[in-house]
Symmetry: C3
Subunit: 415 residues, 3 copies
Amino acid sequence: MAAAQPKPLAGAAVVRRLARGCWSAFWDYETPKVIVVRNRRLGVLYRTVQLLILLYFVWYVFIVQKSYQDSETGPESSVITKVKGVTTSEHKVWDVEEYVKPPEGGSVFSIITRIEVTPSQALGTCPESMRVPNAACHQDEDCVAGELDMLGNGLRTGRCVPYYQGASKTCEVSGWCPVEDGASVSQFLGKMAPNFTILIKNSIHYPKFRFSKGNIADRRDGYLKHCSFDEALDPYCPIFKLGFVVEQAGENFTELAHKGGVIGVIINWDCDLDLAAAACNPKYSFRRLDPKHVPASSGYNFRFAKYYKTNGTTTRTLIKAYGIRIDVIVHGQAGKFSLIPTIINLATALTSIGVGSFLCDWILLTFMNKNKVYSHKKFDKMADTPGQSTGQSLPASELPRLDSTPTDPRGLAQL
Amino acid sequence: MAAAQPKPLAGAAVVRRLARGCWSAFWDYETPKVIVVRNRRLGVLYRTVQLLILLYFVWYVFIVQKSYQDSETGPESSVITKVKGVTTSEHKVWDVEEYVKPPEGGSVFSIITRIEVTPSQALGTCPESMRVPNAACHQDEDCVAGELDMLGNGLRTGRCVPYYQGASKTCEVSGWCPVEDGASVSQFLGKMAPNFTILIKNSIHYPKFRFSKGNIADRRDGYLKHCSFDEALDPYCPIFKLGFVVEQAGENFTELAHKGGVIGVIINWDCDLDLAAAACNPKYSFRRLDPKHVPASSGYNFRFAKYYKTNGTTTRTLIKAYGIRIDVIVHGQAGKFSLIPTIINLATALTSIGVGSFLCDWILLTFMNKNKVYSHKKFDKMADTPGQSTGQSLPASELPRLDSTPTDPRGLAQL
Amino acid sequence: MAAAQPKPLAGAAVVRRLARGCWSAFWDYETPKVIVVRNRRLGVLYRTVQLLILLYFVWYVFIVQKSYQDSETGPESSVITKVKGVTTSEHKVWDVEEYVKPPEGGSVFSIITRIEVTPSQALGTCPESMRVPNAACHQDEDCVAGELDMLGNGLRTGRCVPYYQGASKTCEVSGWCPVEDGASVSQFLGKMAPNFTILIKNSIHYPKFRFSKGNIADRRDGYLKHCSFDEALDPYCPIFKLGFVVEQAGENFTELAHKGGVIGVIINWDCDLDLAAAACNPKYSFRRLDPKHVPASSGYNFRFAKYYKTNGTTTRTLIKAYGIRIDVIVHGQAGKFSLIPTIINLATALTSIGVGSFLCDWILLTFMNKNKVYSHKKFDKMADTPGQSTGQSLPASELPRLDSTPTDPRGLAQL
C-alpha cells in the first residue's frame, strides 16, 4: 500500500525487508508509559476505590454469591409416597385404600377428608337439581325435551316433575338418577386425619455433576418404623404427620378438611458440591398452593364413582370427595467450581478495578490545583498539520511540535 | 534480590529503606501517558465506533435483553383442573365422572370422546383375535398349547376353533373372553364435547424472588360461575371450552375426537419483577403435543375395565377409550435487577468500547499519511543493549537510546 | 469552578471559549503512549502467555464449552406410554388392563409383578393383625374399646379373640374383615414380564428457539409394529422390552419383580441448534431411582381394591401390588448462537489476554538486569510540590521536575 519508496529497490527485497521488520517487531514487548503522580491524597483515594471494588468482588461476588461455580437447577427427581392411618366416620371405618386417591404412591395424591355420597344411582329419569339454571318449572311447557344443559345432570325429557323434597318442581332429566343434589349424604372422615403419617421417599440426581442423594438415613435397624420427622434431630426420617404438614403451612386443619385444599411439600436440595456430600441436605417447607383467598374458587374436591352390577342392571355410588391434596415439589440448585464462570468474574473484577482510575483521572485533571500541569504531562498533543510526511525517519527537531495549548480534555475526552 | 548495593550499608537499614520506598510508592497514583492526535477524521471515526458499541449495549443488551436482571426459570407450580359438561351417546347420558380419567383434577387428564366397549368378559376360553400374528389356523396342530403371544389375549389351549363371525378359524386362548376384537361395540361421546368447560386453577411461586401469583381474578361475586376465558377481556377467568382449546391448537375436533390426541395448554409466566405484580400475567397457548404427522403412532387411547361380581363369578367390562388428553404445562421466567449481571455486562461494555481504539490505532499507524510520525510518537522504543546497568539513577544522556527505526509494529504488535 | 481567570474577560465569552475548547477536544483521538522493549526473551514470554490464554479461550471456552451459545434447559415435554404383553400366574391369565396402573398411559406408571390378594373383605369384626403393635392379648381387659391404632386395621371393640391360625389371640377390630395379614394369598405375575414391551412416545419443544422434535421415525410403513429399540440401529423406534430396561439399569429382574422398585427411563435431548435438526437426537439412559441400598425402605408397593355389591352387601378384594414403576424423565439442553454470551466471552478473552502484561511488567521491572532503566523509562514521576500553579501554559523548564528516585514501584504499584 505504502508503495512510494524513495530509493529504487527491487520489489522482492522490499517485501523481504518489510517482513523481517514485522517479524522482529512481533517479538518486541510493549508496555504503556505511565505517569506517576506523587500525591498522597489522590493515591489514598485511588487505593481506597480499588479496595472497595476488590472487597465487593471477593466478599459478595465470590464468597456470598459463589460466582466461581457452575450451577445446575432442577435435578432429576423421583418421589414415592405412602400414607398410613385409619379413621372413622359416623358408621364406618376407613383405611388407606379408601381415602387415598390415586393409590399408586406418586408425588401428587389426595387424602379424602369429607365425602358426599349419592348411593345407588342408576340410569333412568328423575327431577333435575334445583341448582342448575332454568331447572325450576311450573308445567311441562317450561321444559324443552332434548335440551342438554352443560351444568346439568342429563338430557331433559320435557316433563315437569315434583322435586325430591319440598313442594317445588323441576324439569325431569334422563341420566344417572337420583341426581347428586337430591340424594347425597355427607360423611366426615377427618377426625383422625391429623394423625395420618406420610412417608416421602425422594432421591435426586444432578446429571451435570453426576451427584445422587436420597432423603432417607441409611440405617440397618427398623429406623423408619419408629421415627418421625424432626428438622433438627431427625432430618433424614421423612415421615410427616398430616397435622404437622397442615400446621406448618399455616392452615386450620378442620377448615381445610371440610372445604379441601392443596398443600405443597417443597423439598429443596441446595447443594455446594465443592463440599462433602454430607453437606448437601434436603430442606422441607410447606405451603398452601391453591388460592384460598379467592372466594370464587377456594377448596379442592373431585368426583369418582364405584360401579356395581346387580341382576343385570348397573348401579353406581357417586362420591364427591373433599380432601387435602399433597403436591410434593422437588427443586434445587447445585454448584461446583468451574473455570469459565471463575474467569469471567475475575476478568470483570479486573476491568472493574480499572474503573477506579477513571474517577481519579477526572479528579486529577479537574479539581487538583495544578491540573494544567498534570494535563500537560499526561496528554502529549499532536497537531495534525497537513504536509511534509516524508516517510523517512525524521530527526527529532522535525517531529510535529507538541501542541501545548492548555485545553483540558477531562472526563469526556477520557471515556 | 537486587542485593548488589554500591555503598556498604547495614542490612537492616537497607531493608527498612526499601520497605519505606515501597510503602511510599504504593500510595502514588499512576495514570497512562496519552498521545492526543488532533485529527478530526480519526476522532470522528473513533467516537462513532464508540457510539455504535454504546448504543448496542444500551439498547439491545440492557433494554431489549434486560441483562441487568438476575433470572429464574421454572417456577414452582400447582394446577387444579375441573371439567364440567354432559354429553350423550347412542343410548346413554354421560357425566363428568364417566368421561374424565383420572378424576382427581390434576394437571394431566383425559376427556374420553369415543369408546369401544367389550361387555361381560369373564375368565374362560374363546377364539383368539384375527389381528394377532399366527392366530389363524386350520386344525389343532397349527396351535401350540401353552404358547403365550405377547401381542395376544391369552394362553393358547392348543385347539383351533371357529371365529366369532365369518367362516375362518383361530387358535383358542384361555383368558378374558370374549376377546376385544370379537365383541366390542363402539360408542361416540364427542357430540357435545366441544361445549365442555375446563377450569384450570394455577398458582406459581418463584422461590428466588419470593413472588407468588395465581391465574384467577380475586373477586367476591360469583365471577367464575358466569365468565369464560377471553384473552383481551377476561384474562383472569381461566375457564376454557374444549372446542376453543382444540381450535386454538389448530386441530379438527371431529377427527381428534375419533382418533384421540394430546393437547398442551401451555401457561407462560414471563415476569419482569422490577415492575408491579400486576404486570406479571399468564399467557396461554395451545399446541398439539403428540406426533400427529407420524402415521405409525398417531392418536391417543388407553384401556380400562370395570369389574363386577355376580353369583360368585367375576366379569368385567373392558373399555378402550379414545380421548383428548389435556396436559397443562406451566413454565416461565422471572427477572429482577441484580448487581452481579449488571456489573458483568457493564464491564463487558467498557471493555468493548475500548475495542474501538484497536481499530483506530491500526488506521492511525497504517493508512494515515503521517503514520511514521505517529508511530514515532506512540512507540518509545528501547533497544535491549546488554551491559552497564549500574543500579543508580542514570542521567538522561546515559539512558538507552531511543530506537527510532521506522519499522511499524501496527495492529499485530498492538494486539 | 476554576473561576480564577488572570485576564478580565466577560463571563459569557469565557464560557463560550471553554465550550468550544471542550467540543474540539472531544473529537481528538487519544491513544496511550507505549514503550517498546527490544528484548527477545521478554517478547517470547509475552507472546507465549498470550498464546496460551488465546488457546484456552478458543479451544476450551468456545469449542468445547460452546460459550458463544445462548442455552435453554428443561424443554416442554409430552410423554405417552403404552405397555403390551400377556402373562400368567398360578391359575389366571393377566392382560395389560390388569397389571398396568394407572391405565392412562402417562409418564409414570407401574407394572404389577406380584400381588397379595385379600378376597371378599366386608365391613365387620375380626381379629387384628399380629404385626400391629399391642394387638396381641390374653383377655378382653388387654383391649381398649374405641381405640384406633394408626398402624392397625380398624376400631378396637374391646374383645380379645383367637387369631386366624395358631393358638394366639389378638384384639378384635371393627373394619374391613378379614384383615390382610390373616387371609392374603400371594400370586406372582412376573414370569413373562421381561417380554412386555413399552412404547414411549415423547415430543419436546424448546420455546426460546421454537424447536420441536419427537422420538419416533416418520415412516409410512407399519414401522412401529415390528421394530424394537436399538441404540445404534433403530434409535427412533422407542419400543423397549421391560427386561432390557431392567438390565440396563443394572438390576436383577426376579429380585426387582418380587420386592418392587422404581426404574427411571431418562430421555436426554442435548441439542446444538446451530447444526441441522437431524443432529438433535434423544439419548436414553436407565437408572434405579428408589434407594435400594437403604434397607428400611427398599422396594415399591401400593394397595388398591375392587368393590363388589352382592345381595345388598358391599365386599371388596384388597390387592397389595408389588411392581416395577417406570418414571419417564425428560430433560435436555439446547444451545444456539447468540450475540450476548459471545460478546461477554470475547470481552473476557480480551481482558484475560491483557493479563499477560501484568506478568511481563513485573518480570521486566523486577528481574531484568536493567530494571532501573526500564522503570525510569516506563514511569514518568511527578512530585506533588505545592505552590506555583499559575493556570497558564508553563514553559518546559517550569514543569515539575521528573522525580528520578530509583524506587521501583513494581508489581504492587502496577496492580
